[in-house]
């Protein structure tokens, strides 16, 4: 098991290293001069040259990459031009907000998605199954930004139950925070929830066909116990791997949710930096988002190892 964890850890580090390479490459190799983009069409040659030197862009690319990576590793993400602030500080302000929304949505997706999948599998062919399957299909197909707008229209503008937008930290005003985040969280969770419900359903159906379920029934075990104790635990193993992918899609979705609900999180920071042509920030945000996803996947892998004795006990 220890070997397994260490191996995964090393793999994650390798992945993060490659992520940094990809991010750097995207930002530097593709057509378009970031400085020219940043300064706009009216910039003079001198201005461009000055900024290039300032940002170290006149050095060869490998040197630039090494400089950047070393700085990042020391916690220095550089300085934002449009915000005129340390990028590290920007991230420190916004990351907790995204975590708040994202983690809540993640938990909600698990808490609702997995039971929904189980029910659909156990009642296969019944109306509950149809309802859950259809809802899950809709949940996967619906554009989350559009659903946000629909929600705002219905619950905020028409019914007036919830605030239109904004974010308040739960430590400041719990009630207000809850009212402001309930809709973003629910909507953000929807995609992952639908995916989880579908996967749980098919994983359960797959497991229920297995010989060991027949064995459990042949022992006279109660059907409830067969499902919860024998089937579910086995079905969860593939579902855990889905969680990792769910995490990535959740992070993607939060970009839209933060945009629609005007929540000052990482997604909104990224969108604003893109429009502000603040490539230092974009680069950092992408790197951090990818790191969060990679670390999340690492956690998922370890959980997988813990649940499955075939991995835990080494094989």
């Amino acid at each position: 098991m220890l070997t397994f964890i260490v191996r995964r850890l090393i793999m994650t580090i390798a992945i993060l290293f490659i992520v940094s390479l990809i991010v750097f490459t995207i930002m530097h190799m593709l057509p378009g001069d970031p400085v020219a983009i940043m300064l706009g069409d009216q910039a003079s040659v001198e201005e461009i040259e000055r900024l290039r030197t300032e940002l170290g862009l006149d050095k060869p690319l490998p040197v630039q990459y090494a400089d950047w990576l070393l700085n990042v590793l020391q916690g220095d993400l550089g300085r934002s031009i449009s915000y005129n602030e340390d990028v590290g500080q920007l991230v420190r302000d916004r990351l907790p907000i995204s975590f708040h929304i994202g983690l809540s949505a993640f938990v909600l997706a698990i808490v609702l998605g997995i039971p929904a999948g189980i029910i659909a599998a156990v009642k296969r062919g019944g109306w509950l199954d149809s309802l859950i399957t259809v809802t899950a299909n809709l949940g996967m197909a619906v554009p989350v930004f559009w659903l946000g707008i629909l929600g705002v229209y219905l619950f905020s503008l028409k019914l007036g139950w919830l605030p239109v937008q904004g974010y308040t930290s739960p430590f400041e005003d719990l009630g207000q925070s809850f009212r402001q985040t309930v809709m973003p969280v629910v909507l953000l969770s929807l995609g992952a929830l639908a995916t989880l419900a579908r996967q749980t359903r098919s994983s359960m159906l797959e497991v229920i066909r297995q010989d060991y379920i027949r064995t459990a029934r042949a022992k006279g075990v109660k059907e409830n116990r067969v499902i919860m104790k024998h089937a579910l635990r086995n079905a969860l193993i593939p579902i855990i791997t889905i969680l990792g992918m769910g995490l990535a899609s959740l992070v993607g979705g939060s970009v839209f949710i933060e945009q629609v609900f005007n929540i000052p999180g990482m997604g909104r920071l990224m969108v604003q930096s893109i429009f502000g042509k603040d490539y230092v920030v974009v680069q950092s945000v992408v790197l951090i988002v990818a790191s969060v996803v990679a670390l999340g996947n690492l956690a998922v892998d370890i959980a997988y190892g813990l649940i499955d004795p075939r991995i835990r006990l080494g094989k």
Partner: protein
């Protein structure tokens, strides 16, 4: 006296893609307390579904029990709700069941102790601690050493045989009245099979438990069963005591089965009598006798009268046949019954004995072949050991002969085959094929030689490309090696090949999934023959097939050998089949050949203790012979290749092992002309 279990007119149908498949169609039988009863039949005969139906373990949908009654201790089990309390009390409590697949029948993420205890707590109302003690006891009972520790192991930490022991422990855990073993030993090696069956018999006899053996293996039936039900196409076609059925079989299907299986005590020149054709499609059953299309005894009457009911043909002996087919030869038994009727006689001429000549010329010579697979561990993938799958194996095959290579799973026989064909890169040694040393030959130079040495695979379902028509599959070697000049020649050769293996050449445009297992194996054989080879490797080529189909394929292989002068390397685990088909036989154990000799010497006076015990473990489908046979059961399990005992690798299981055996590894030495044994005592 009422029976322990009495089943009346049981019908279980499956709805598959809109058609009704009558898997079990009006089956009646009974079991008394303490009896050992066998259900015999081939795949699809409904023997397993019959057993599951009584316990309402049929997956529904698509399955549905549409009629009949299953009286167990006076209660009709079919009246209970499928997952209701009364049904669950019976399952695992009064009726224990052991399933076929030991590798998948245990919950992979629950310790075996907990899985056994679960049953005990449920039916015997024991507490946790007590149930655990009971689990340990049971694990000991089924012969697993070190039970106190093993109780906390997960299934993947056990071998297949061990897992099946756990399954048996679980089934026996609540002192059931009836134990059902559904092909429980089919997936296991012959020595493990013997151990488990002996153990089950001992336990049920001690506790007066009834035992139902569901199997296709007639040898097992002859050795262990007291009474038999023979099933075909969803119905019972014959029933009676074991001696009655084997001694004077009445139903043509039973007669056919008995003649289709090779036996350890066959005369060598016996030609197997295959049952022609295929089992019927249960979705389109005719109103006539289900065996009619394959029956060699059929009369006008059979083709007009409705399907026959079981009728008593002797005391306690029932058969579902209109005719008294076996009247003439029915009283005879054993070897004599091979020639039961004139009809069969005509189809089975005595084998034209040594028409086939073995030349002195060597076809294949393997010298000191070693095939090691590295075991890596840790982060850097350091090599910590080698799995010595094949460890210094030498043999030669002469032109025109068949060398049989037998052994239990993991002995390395398949690895030998694959190394010989360079599907693996041998670690060491030399492979000389028709004078060419191919051990290190480059793939480009080897390719033209490949047409001389094709292979027939074990699994007829995975060895044919599902996206190619069978014509393309068979014709591929012709194209690859440029063996035909033009399209016309290609078509002619295909027609010839299909005809040669007994397939209608008109089917060449069909896809593999449209064929049955036996037909697919014929296609595989046609592919092997396409390039006109002189040598063919048959890797378990018949082990995935049903008994009646096996005989067809064995006969085909033998006919082809005679006709085309082929040389075979025949790899199999079934000792009776190998005996039947081989001129010489090599026995492998843990990567080495332990004994090699001509078939007669090897089977009649084996020298190596392993060979002796292996042969003793093989049941002979004849209760009269089995009665007289002495059964020496090998102790223990085949050790892992990484954990071989020091010295002779059989020394830890050998009853004759001495201190010397544990010190040095005996080489394979010649004890007589052409007879090599790797044992210090020989």
């Amino acid at each position: 006296m009422s029976h322990l279990l009495e089943v009346r007119n049981l019908k279980t149908y499956f709805n598959v893609d809109g058609t009704t498949v009558k898997a079990v169609d009006g089956v009646s039988y009974h079991i008394d307390a303490g009896e050992i009863v066998a259900f015999v039949g081939e795949s699809g005969s409904g023997k397993s579904v019959t057993q599951y139906s009584g316990l309402q373990l049929i997956p529904s949908p698509p399955g549905k029990i549409v009629g009949g009654s299953v009286k167990f201790e006076g209660n009709d089990l079919l009246r209970f709700a499928p997952n209701g309390e009364e049904m669950r009390d019976v399952r695992g409590g009064k009726i224990g069941i052991v399933f076929q697949e030991p590798m998948t029948s245990l919950n992979p993420i629950m310790t075996v102790g907990k899985q056994i205890a679960e049953s005990v707590m449920l039916h015997l109302k024991m507490g946790k601690a007590e149930a655990r003690r009971r689990a340990i006891e049971l694990i000991q009972l089924v012969g697993i050493p070190d039970a106190e520790h093993r109780v906390d192991y997960y299934p993947h930490q056990f071998s297949g045989g061990m897992r099946q022991r756990i399954m048996i422990a679980m089934a026996l855990s609540c002192n059931p009245k009836l134990l059902i073993a559904d092909e429980a030993t089919t997936a296991l090696d012959v020595t493990t099979q013997a151990q488990l069956l002996e153990m089950m018999r001992d336990v049920v006899k001690k506790t007066n438990t009834s035992l139902i053996l569901v199997t296709h293996n007639l040898g097992i039936v002859a050795r262990y069963a007291e009474r038999i039900y023979v099933m075909y196409a969803g119905g019972i076609v014959e029933s009676g005591t074991t001696k009655e059925i084997f001694g004077s079989p009445k139903h043509p299907y039973t007669i056919g089965l008995l003649k289709a299986v090779p036996r350890l005590d066959d005369p060598k020149d016996r030609k197997l009598v295959a049952i022609d054709g295929l089992p019927p499609n249960l979705a389109h059953k005719s109103e006539f006798c289900a065996f009619l299309p394959r029956c060699p005894f059929k009369t006008e009457a059979c083709q007009s009268r409705p399907a026959p009911e079981l009728r008593e043909t002797g005391p306690g002996h029932f058969a579902a046949c209109h005719e008294e087919v076996a009247a003439s030869g029915g009283a005879e038994r054993g070897l004599a019954s091979v020639s039961i009727s004139s009809v069969q006689e005509a189809q089975a001429p005595e084998r034209e004995v040594p028409e086939r000549s073995v030349a002195a010329e060597t076809m294949l010579e393997v010298r000191h072949l070693k095939m090691y697979f590295p075991v890596t561990r840790g982060l850097l993938g350091r090599k910590v050991a080698d799995i010595k799958a094949v460890d210094d194996v030498s043999f030669e095959i002469r032109k025109g002969e068949t060398l049989g290579l037998v052994g239990e799973s993991g002995c390395g026989k398949t690895t030998v085959a694959r190394s010989v064909l360079r599907m693996y890169e041998p670690t060491d040694g030399q492979i000389v094929f028709r004078g060419h040393d191919i051990t290190r030959m480059s793939m480009n130079r080897l390719r033209p030689l490949r047409r001389e040495m094709p292979m027939i695979f074990q699994d007829p379902f995975s060895s044919l490309d599902p996206r190619q028509s069978v014509g393309n599959i068979v014709g591929e070697p012709l194209k690859v090696h440029g063996l035909v000049k033009n399209a016309k020649e290609y078509e002619e050769r295909l027609t010839e090949l299909f005809t040669l293996v007994g397939l209608n050449p008109g089917v060449r445009n069909r896809m593999p999934h449209e064929f049955s297992g036996g037909q697919r194996q014929r296609i595989g054989i046609a592919r092997a023959l396409a390039s006109n080879p002189s040598f063919i490797v048959c890797d378990e080529a018949i082990s995935a097939l049903d008994v009646s189909i096996q005989a067809q394929i064995i006969n085909l292989l033998e006919d082809l050998q005679r006709k085309l002068g082929l040389t075979y390397l025949f790899i199999a685990h079934d000792l009776s089949v190998v005996r039947h088909i081989s001129d010489r036989v090599a026995v492998m154990y843990l990567g080495k050949i332990v004994e090699i000799a001509d078939w007669k010497t090897l089977y009649e006076s084996p020298k190596h203790p392993y060979t002796q015990m292996l042969l003793s473990a093989v049941p002979i489908p004849d209760p009269f012979v089995e009665e007289r046979r002495e059964h020496v059961v090998i102790q223990g399990e085949v050790p892992s290749l990484l954990n071989k005992p020091k010295g002779c690798s059989f020394s830890n299981r050998c009853p004759f092992a001495t201190a010397a055996c544990k010190e040095s590894e005996p080489p394979l030495r010649s004890v007589a002309e052409g007879h090599g044994v790797a044992c210090l005592r020989a």
